[in-house]
Every structure is written in structure tokens, then in C-alpha cells.
């Protein structure tokens, strides 16, 4: 409980700072909203000519998009501290040492370090697109689906967090600026917004069995939409989301702890 209160104390400082200047703040959120919304608008705009993406209707793609984007946007909001672009300078400029001098755990400090409200723009457009998808697509709702939906969302959140944490841990070994890590994050979310069967078979296999991205978005979507897997893989895969999400998160955290130990042995 004390930890939660402390988190709130630290984060509210960041929130106040951002909301100080109303107009730039609103402009920022609008720009972020529109910037991420254009992707879907472009797809919708051309849909009159094509009617489907690999057999999926616009509404179904919208749902898939929401299932990927909402957890991603939530991660962007709450776990900004582990963003590669945010974390790498901390290590390089020695602020990480400052954090080690405070009687707080590193994860707590990083998680409370920033809460970029402008990313609400991305979150709101993801919710909007998901709502659109719900409106356009008839889903046979059941208790199981309703219960599973939030679990899927949290699993995807854990998965995206794991990607960020892994990327940031790399900072402990290399001083070089490896922008490629941002690609894993954003590129991954973009890729998951479309049904996996449009991609090359090796990509599909990789993102199902090696880095289980498909297990936290695509396969649960199949379950939600009552669609069969085009490749005849067992229906069980749709229910492995929590395992995939928590598993990758646990692995990422272990890697992180290893990285921190390494940092404390070698310094900067």
C-alpha cells in the first residue's frame, strides 16, 4: 500500500508538470491521436475497393487492431521509464547512479519516472477503432469471451512490457545508440494489427513459437471471432495468452536483473 502511495506521489509530480500549459498539451494529444489514427483511416479509406484483408472484414481488422493497440498504448503510458529512448540517456548520463543512491527499488523509480499524458492520444484512438470494430462486427458473445478479453489485454500488456524491458537492458552492455530497439516495439505492434496469415510462414512461426506475439493478439482474436486457424493449429493456442505474456515478462525481468548486476560490477 505504501508503495502505491509513493508511486502516486512521484507520478503526480510528472502529471502536474505536463498539464501546466493547457494549449500545447491539447495540441500534443491531438497530434498523437491523429498521428496514430491515420493508419486505420487510410485502411478504411481504401476498403471500398478491396472489401477484405486476407479474408478479414474491416470490422474484424479493427478489432484486431484494438486488441494490439490498446495494450500497447497502455504500456506506452505507464511504463515509459523502460522505453529505450527514455532509458538509454539515463544510463549514459549517470542518472542511473543517482537512482541507485535512493532507498527505492529501481523498477519503482523507473515506472514512476514519467507518465506521458500525450500518449492518451494513441490510447483513445485505439479504443475508438476497437469500438468501431465492435459496432461493425457481429460477435457471438459468451461468458468465456467476456472473461477472457481483459486477460488477453493484460497478457498483451505484459508482452509489450517485456519487449521494452529487454531492449532497455541492452543499454547495460553497449553505449552505442541502437535505435533498432524501438523498431521491435512499434514494429511489433504494427505487425500485430493485421491477421497473421498474411505474413510469410517463417515470420508466423517465429512470432508464434519463438517470440509469442501471435499468442497474445491473433489467436485470442480467432477465438473471439469464432474463426478457425487457417493452418489448422490446435484451438488451445487461443488460450495461451496469459502464459505467453507472463512468461515473456518473467524472462525479461530475469534478464533485467542480470543486466543490473552486470552494471554494478562494471560501472559506466
Amino acid at each position: 500500500m505504501g508503495a502505491l502511495r509513493l508511486y502516486w506521489t512521484l507520478v503526480s509530480v510528472r502529471l502536474h508538470g505536463q498539464m501546466q500549459y493547457r494549449l500545447p498539451f491539447l495540441l500534443d494529444i491531438t497530434a498523437t491521436f491523429l498521428g496514430s489514427f491515420v493508419d486505420f483511416v487510410a485502411l478504411a479509406g481504401v476498403f471500398s475497393r478491396f472489401r477484405s484483408v486476407g479474408g478479414w472484414s474491416l470490422g474484424e481488422v479493427a478489432l484486431l487492431y484494438g486488441l494490439a493497440e490498446i495494450p500497447f498504448a497502455l504500456k506506452e503510458l505507464s511504463l515509459c521509464g523502460y522505453d529505450y529512448d527514455f532509458f538509454a540517456p539515463l544510463v549514459r548520463q549517470g542518472q542511473l547512479d543517482q537512482m541507485l543512491l535512493r532507498p527505492l527499488s529501481l523498477p519503482m523509480q523507473l515506472v514512476a519516472a514519467e507518465f506521458p499524458l500525450r500518449r492518451l492520444g494513441r490510447l483513445s484512438q485505439a479504443v475508438l477503432v476497437f469500438a468501431l470494430g465492435l459496432h461493425l462486427t457481429p460477435i457471438a458473445w459468451s461468458a468465456a469471451k467476456l472473461l477472457y478479453l481483459p486477460i488477453v489485454g493484460l497478457s498483451a500488456l505484459a508482452f509489450f512490457a517485456a519487449i521494452d524491458i529487454t531492449g532497455s537492458t541492452a543499454c547495460f552492455w553497449t553505449v552505442e545508440r541502437l535505435e533498432v530497439f524501438s523498431l521491435f516495439s512499434y514494429g511489433g505492434a504494427a505487425m500485430l494489427s493485421f491477421p497473421m496469415h498474411i505474413y510469410h510462414v517463417w515470420l508466423r512461426r517465429f512470432f508464434t513459437f519463438v517470440v509469442p506475439a501471435a499468442l497474445v493478439v491473433y489467436y485470442p482474436a480467432l477465438f473471439l471471432l469464432d474463426k478457425p486457424d487457417p493452418f489448422g493449429l490446435p484451438r488451445l493456442l487461443s488460450f495461451l495468452a496469459p502464459l505467453a505474456g507472463l512468461g515473456t515478462l518473467a524472462a525479461a525481468c530475469a534478464f533485467w536483473r542480470f543486466g543490473v548486476r552486470h552494471y554494478q560490477s562494471t560501472g559506466t
Binding site: 491515420v38 481504401v46 475497393r49
Partner: protein, 278 residues
């Protein structure tokens, strides 16, 4: 071209060599950002492939849509990715920053024309990006996909003209957006919105021709389509004969229009700055 300076051949040549030098400096600078360029190239490749997959899935069994074959569409995804960084479609902050930090005062007091100064710098940057990220990306695309190439000699000749015009139009737009900083000091917020606008209408996400007919014809007439989309159409050969000439004409018209507008706004902006005390 340079207001207030007598344009003798010698003077023109002197000015031109200055601007060439500026462009060259910026071009060479691009060469030093090896790691960043490599990362950018990988990003371009990833997103290009992603868009290619989506386009292929959209086409399904169709052979032609709005004059594009599947091969055309895949090629399109590569060309647009290759041109992205050249026309700085996600934004260009150098001038905005210089205004915010006050460097603009120094820039304005130099014996070079403010517009052509930044234009020269941007051309250096753009050509550098084209060479370092654009061409390698196209090469990678050749290896990964069966891409098309310009169908006729006319298209080959028109392509560099179209690219240069596209870069110029893109620069003029970014220059205009950055000029708002003369009034608001920090144009970052406006910049984000304006650059996002260009991004949306640029055709990066979907070929503009794929939108409903009424929308597509309108979209092709904006300055934003002149930056990347029209050059892509020239490359693909989707426009032919009079259509090719029309595409170049649209680009040229926007180049002239935006240049004229930039001149007017710049003059007003300098007056405003001087009155404010810089």
C-alpha cells in the same frame, strides 16, 4: 532570386557556389551518421515489407486495381519507404530549433538568402538520405521482391526531375511551417500537427489512387501528393503520356506556388521579428 542583389552572371555564380557548398556540407554530414542510417534502413525495410504484405493481402485474387498491379503495389511500398527520409515526411526540426534558440538572428544577418540557405542545406540532407537509405532500400527490395522499373525512357528521364521537384515542394512546405516560429517562438506544436498532416496525405500508408475515385482525384492535387506520391507514380509508370506531363506539371505548379507563398510569409516574418526586437 535574391532580393536586393544585382544579378550579374558572376554574382549568380558566386551565390550558386555558396549554396552548393552548403548542400555539400550537409550531404557529407549524413555520411557520418552510419549507425543511425543503418537503423533507419532496417526500419524502412521492416515497414516496407509490412505494407507489402498488407497490400498483397488486400489485392487477394485481383490483378489490377486503379491501374496498379500487385507488383506495382509492392514496388510502391518500397519506393515510398525509400523516399520517406529524403523528403523528411515525419518532420524536420532544424529550422524550428534555430528559431527557438535564437540562432535565427545570426542566420538572418548572414549575406545569404534565408530561403535558399535552408533550401541548400535541405537538399544536401535529402540527397544524402536518398543515397544512403533510399538506394540501398531499393536494392534490398530488388533482392526480396520482383519489383517493376520505369517503363519508358520518358519515365526514366522524368524521374530525377520529379524527385527534385518533390524534394523542393516538401522543403517549401516545411519551410512555411517552420516560419510560424517567427511569430510563436516555438513552432514545435504546430510542426507536429502540420507534419502529421503531410504524412497522412503523402500516400505513405496507401497509394492515393486506391481511395474512392472522388477522393483520389482530390488527393492527387494537394501539395502533399507532390512530395512522394507523384514521383512514385512516375517511377511505376502508372501515369503515361499526357498523364506523365500532368503529374510533373502539378509538382511544378506547387513548387512555384509554395515558393511564392514562402517569400511573402518570410518577408512578413522578418518584419515582425525586427519590430519585436529580434
Amino acid at each position: 532570386m535574391v532580393p536586393g542583389v544585382r544579378t550579374s552572371p558572376a554574382a549568380l555564380w558566386a551565390a550558386a557556389s555558396t549554396y552548393l557548398a552548403l548542400a555539400g556540407t550537409n550531404l557529407r554530414r549524413q555520411l557520418t551518421y552510419r549507425a543511425a542510417n543503418l537503423a533507419g534502413l532496417i526500419t524502412n525495410l521492416f515497414f516496407g515489407a509490412l505494407r507489402a504484405y498488407v497490400l498483397i493481402a488486400l489485392f487477394g485474387a485481383r490483378e489490377q486495381v486503379a491501374g496498379y498491379s500487385v507488383r506495382d503495389a509492392v514496388t510502391y511500398s518500397g519506393i515510398t519507404q525509400a523516399l520517406m527520409s529524403c523528403v523528411a515526411i515525419f518532420g524536420w526540426w532544424d529550422m524550428i530549433r534555430s528559431i527557438r534558440t535564437g540562432e535565427v538572428a545570426t542566420d538572418l544577418s548572414r549575406p545569404v538568402d534565408y530561403f535558399w540557405y535552408w533550401c541548400a542545406l535541405d537538399f544536401g540532407r535529402g540527397v544524402g538520405q536518398l543515397a544512403l537509405r533510399g538506394l540501398p532500400l531499393v536494392a534490398l527490395y530488388v533482392l526480396a521482391y520482383r519489383i517493376t522499373s520505369p517503363p519508358t525512357l520518358w519515365h526514366w528521364l522524368a524521374l530525377p526531375i520529379s524527385l527534385l521537384l518533390g524534394l523542393f515542394v516538401s522543403f517549401a512546405w516545411r519551410f512555411l511551417v517552420s516560419l510560424t516560429g517567427f511569430w510563436t517562438r516555438d513552432a514545435t506544436g504546430i510542426g507536429r500537427l502540420a507534419f502529421m498532416l503531410a504524412y497522412f496525405f503523402s500516400g505513405l500508408l496507401m497509394p492515393l489512387a486506391f481511395f474512392p475515385d472522388w477522393a483520389a482525384s482530390l488527393l492527387r492535387l494537394t501539395p502533399f501528393s507532390a512530395m512522394m506520391y507523384l514521383p512514385s507514380e512516375v517511377y511505376l509508370g502508372v501515369v503515361r503520356g499526357p498523364g506523365l506531363a500532368a503529374a510533373l506539371a502539378v509538382q511544378a505548379l506547387w513548387a512555384v506556388a509554395l515558393y511564392a507563398l514562402a517569400r511573402v510569409v518570410l518577408a512578413a516574418g522578418v518584419r515582425h521579428l525586427v519590430l519585436q526586437g529580434g
